[in-house]
């Protein structure tokens, strides 16, 4: 059965990328603990609007952990601390206690400028994807799908890499602001599949070059990214990316 909790919420307000930004806070009273974290923020916003104020802005959409839109830094951890690895939208208030102070901030990274409050611009991820995150194939009538046999193990492994939702928690958690886990997951998915091999070298080089160009930092193997990834992407992918990258460079 749900119980009610009361706590203080400190949330980040920032009017555009150039504004210095500041925290505001509010006492939240008697919130049912089967409320999701984002529903709790809906309640906060309803209260703010009823006071005639502008609501707190944050990105969210599917609210079932798959679209990758929600992106809050909660009590010092991207998406907050959840046991099974989950996105902000899958965090429930039962993980908090009466009297807590809950701090909500945006993803902080040079490559993700703040648009407003906790809404940030992650279009850099799209640009990396456009640099090479695909198999070039024309729409039409390719060969029969079963003409390409792929061992189950390889398909499963590729699927694990492909589950990345592009939320950017890895970048937010990294002290260098590196996007290596994101890039490595995409490169790995295609590197593991026969369809992806013809462009593997080109892809690894192009995506890494774009990532560097857009101001993401270097990877220094702190594994902070892996620890916060809501889809449990493994840093083994980064090792694979490095191998693909070195192979590609040696062939140059």
């Amino acid at each position: 059965m749900a119980k009610n909790i009361s706590f203080t919420i400190k949330y980040w307000k920032q009017n555009g990328p150039k504004d210095a930004g500041h925290f505001e806070q509010r006492e939240m009273k008697n919130i049912p603990d089967d409320t999701s974290f984002l529903e709790m923020l809906d309640i906060l916003n309803e209260e703010l609007i009823n006071d005639g104020k502008e609501p707190f802005v944050f990105d969210h959409d599917c609210r079932e952990g798959i679209c990758g839109m929600c992106s809050l830094y909660i009590n010092g951890t991207p998406h907050g601390k959840t046991a099974t690895g989950a996105t902000t939208c899958q965090l429930y208030m039962r993980k908090f206690n009466d009297g807590d102070v809950i701090t909500v901030e945006p993803w902080r990274s040079a490559a993700f400028p703040v648009i407003k409050d906790c809404m940030v611009d992650r279009s850099a991820f799209d640009k990396i994807q456009a640099a090479g995150g695909y198999v070039t194939v024309r729409t039409g009538q390719p060969q029969d799908a079963n003409a390409i046999l792929i061992p189950k193990q390889d398909a499963d492994e590729a699927m694990d890499c492909a589950t990345c939702i592009g939320c950017g928690a890895c970048v937010a958690a990294c002290k260098n602001g590196s996007a290596m886990l994101y890039v490595a997951s995409k490169v790995s998915q295609f590197a593991l599949l026969p369809q992806g091999r013809p462009e593997a070298a080109k892809r690894a080089k192009a995506m890494v070059a774009k990532m560097d160009e857009l101001g993401f930092g270097n990877c220094t193997n702190t594994r902070a990214c892996e620890a916060v990834c809501p889809k449990n992407e493994s840093i083994a992918n980064i090792a694979r990316l490095n191998r693909e990258f070195i192979k590609a460079k040696l062939a140059d």
Binding site: A2, N15, P32, D34, T35, S36, E39, D42, I43, E46, I49, N50, E54, P55, V57, D61, C62, R63, E64, G65, I66, C67, G68, M69, T84, Q90, Y92, I115, D121, R122, S123, F125, D126, A130, A131, G133, Y134, V135, T136, V137, T139, Q141, P142, Q143, D144, A145, N146, L149, I150, P151, K152, A155, M159, A162, T163, G166, Q189, F190, L193, Q195
Partner: protein
């Protein structure tokens, strides 16, 4: 009365698409460069259409409201995608997929469109595999399949419980490849608010830049909308928070007919509602019905104890459980189509057999499957879904049966389109969930992904050329034309009007009220009287909206409340449209169930004599005026129309 021309090609149903393609007009490669196409939406339909058109050589502008095309709600589809591959050697064929889809839609879909859908379904799988979509595979390396509702074959391809995600990422990668090639220009965080009509043809859109707040004009030779369904008119649904029908309503207001709005799919397996602060409902994939068994107690006193929390599902012995789907529908059992399963759950709960504290839930039980296949196997099949369930409810489906209840999920109705996916406005096309054509009155599981990708990869890129071929001499339009100016000013005036209300109520508080009206009076069980009450209440709600809405902030910069207010204004018209259509359709079919029209056994009772048509609604120039109904008669040549039977 306007005549409805669906432009169905001549010939046998199996030859229509081939004939069409053989004789349609094409645009030569050099001329494609001179033609601009706007595609609104980046879900499966929008992204695949934009990518395919760009690759063909058209200049494409692609819009989405999210921060990236990859966020579109197609991403959340879990279970799978149907295709008539017959890889399982279980007797599948194009005809069988076609037949199952028409039957599943309760004989209210357009036959020729459905056949084409089944025909191209196999190419979709080939296309996606070539793109590197990691579908599930068997040990021998071949693609794996599973079963979905309404079918007796295994034709559903899947990627864990994240098939929509993988297909969308496939389409997104194709799209980004074209962005890189410079054929597609991407506009993220843009919301289409109007379509611009010049001399009776769609020639562009007005969109709001959701970051700066600027109202901007975009011109093109044709406009394609792939903006999804209108399920959020019910406030609580499985749709994403941002899903809305504003682009569709903009087309409707400019003369595009809206077809079969009353065909709303209520999905049987969703996590039940838990409180009034809830913002959305979460779907549990239909694939769970492959192994899960649905039941409620046989005895009312057991149900009462469950509702009071005195006992748990596992305390009820086998002989006191009522596996009501297996009992009522022996041939299909737990895999009956969604409309049938939802109504059956409602019927049991209405009779008092609900199993949670609200009395609005049934069990979906995996204990038998865990016994038969072992926990490890069930974990491999459904692990991510079980984890998601546990995050939300704090209960483990491995230990105790899941609790589920029907929720609004998908809308079969949508913008009316002809065989070419062109709306009743020339040059305006609608694809994916936002059109009406393929699912009749009820969509089968794993067919939404199929339709979105069929439209986007394999249908629209052809049919749009039939329209564009005579546009090659039309030079690019200037957005300084008076029609653009007028449309922009109308949008600005509409926004100002919302700010001027200066009332006291938030958008969400009014939206929740709309949702309650919709669920109570236009939901799973509808009556003429209830629908009339619903319509009266919506009329009052519109007054309340214009008298008491409060939109904080200004039109400049990010203003989420303004975005929601515009969408809500459109959801109110949409709600009325659904109710009008439901009130007019004096029969039960698929997702539209009128309590007055049912068999003695409680099954939907169609009236083919009087309602064998597509209901096409025409806007009358003002939101408060009643729309006018036109009818597109349904013509069935290949399939004999029967009463749907899932019993034997």
């Amino acid at each position: 009365m306007a005549t409805i021309d669906s432009k169905i090609p001549e010939g046998l149903v199996s030859e229509k698409w081939t004939n069409y393609k053989a004789h349609q007009k094409l645009v030569n490669p050099k001329n494609k460069r001179k033609l601009d196409v706007i595609v609104v939406g980046t879900g499966l339909a929008g992204a695949s259409a934009a990518a395919s058109l760009g690759e063909m050589g058209f200049k494409v502008k692609n819009f989405c409201i999210q921060d990236s095309p990859r966020r579109a709600h197609s991403i959340a589809a879990q279970g799978g995608i149907n295709a008539a591959k017959n890889y399982q050697n279980d007797g599948d064929s194009v005809y069988r997929l076609f037949y199952d889809t028409v039957k599943g839609g309760d004989y209210r879909a357009r036959e020729a469109n459905v056949y084409r859908l089944a025909e191209v379904s196999a190419s979709i799988i080939d296309q996606c595999v070539a793109q590197g979509v990691p579908f599930a595979r068997e040990y021998g390396g071949m693609l794996a399949n599973r079963s979905f509702g309404g079918a007796q074959v295994s034709r559903t391809f899947y990627a864990k419980g994240q098939t929509g995600q993988q297909l969308l990422l496939g389409a997104y990668s194709a799209l980004m490849c074209q962005v890189n090639a410079g054929t597609v220009e991407l506009y993220t965080r843009y919301e289409m608010l109007d379509v611009v009509i010049i001399d009776g043809r769609a020639r562009g859109i007005i969109a709001r830049n959701l970051v700066t707040g600027a109202i901007e004009r975009f011109a093109a030779h044709a406009v394609v909308i792939g903006t999804g369904g209108y399920g959020n008119a019910y406030f609580l649904s499985t749709n994403a928070m941002g899903c809305n029908c504003s682009a569709a309503m903009a087309c409707y207001r400019k003369g595009a007919y809206f077809a079969n709005p009353s065909y709303v799919q209520i999905h049987p397996t969703c996590i039940p509602v838990h409180g009034d602060k809830q913002s959305k409902l979460t779907l549990m994939s239909e694939s769970l019905r492959n192994d899960g068994r649905i039941w409620v107690p046989k005895k009312l006193e057991d149900a009462k104890k469950l509702q009071e929390g005195k006992i748990q599902g596992k305390d009820i012995p086998e002989e006191d459980r009522d596996y009501y789907l297996e009992r009522r529908y022996p041939a299909f059992g737990n895999l009956v189509p969604r409309d049938v399963a939802s109504r059956a759950a409602k019927e049991r709960c209405d009779k008092g057999f609900g199993v949670n504290n609200t009395g609005l839930a049934v069990f979906l039980d995996f204990s038998q499957a865990i016994k038969d296949f072992g926990r490890k196997e069930i974990e491999a099949r459904y692990g991510n879904l079980f984890d998601m369930y546990e995050e939300i409810t704090d209960e483990s489906p491995y230990e105790t049966p899941m609790m589920i209840y029907p929720a609004v999920h998908y809308t079969m109705g949508g913008i009316w389109v002809d065989y070419e996916l062109q709306t009743s406005v020339k040059g305006l096309f609608a694809i994916g969930e936002c059109n009406f054509s393929d699912h009749g009155a009820n969509r089968l599981g794993a067919s939404a992904l199929m339709q979105g990708l069929a439209d986007g990869y394999f249908v629209l890129p052809y049919t749009i050329q039939n329209y564009l071929s005579d546009q090659i001499t039309v030079p690019r339009f200037s957005t300084d034309l008076p029609e653009f100016k007028a449309a922009e000013e109308a949008v600005k005036a509409r926004i100002q009007k919302l700010f001027n209300i200066k009332g006291k109520r938030s958008v969400d508080s009014i939206h929740k009220e709309l949702g309650r009206i919709m669920w109570d009076y236009v939901g799973m069980g509808r009556t003429a009287e209830g629908l009339k009450t619903g319509l009266a209440k919506m009329k009052e709600l519109r007054k309340e909206f214009y008298a008491n809405l409060f939109v904080p902030g200004s039109a400049e910069g990010v203003n989420v409340e303004l975005e929601k207010a515009i969408r809500l204004e459109d959801f109110i018209i949409m709600g009325e449209l659904i109710a009008h259509d439901a009130l007019t359709r004096n029969e039960s079919c698929g997702g539209h169930f009128r309590e007055e029209y049912q068999t003695e056994e409680g099954e939907a009772k169609r009236d083919d004599e009087n309602f064998f048509y597509v209901g096409c609604w025409e806007y009358q120039g003002d939101d408060t005026k009643e729309p006018v109904l036109h009818k597109e008669p349904l013509v069935y040549e290949a399939i004999k129309v029967q009463t749907r039977n899932y019993k034997n």
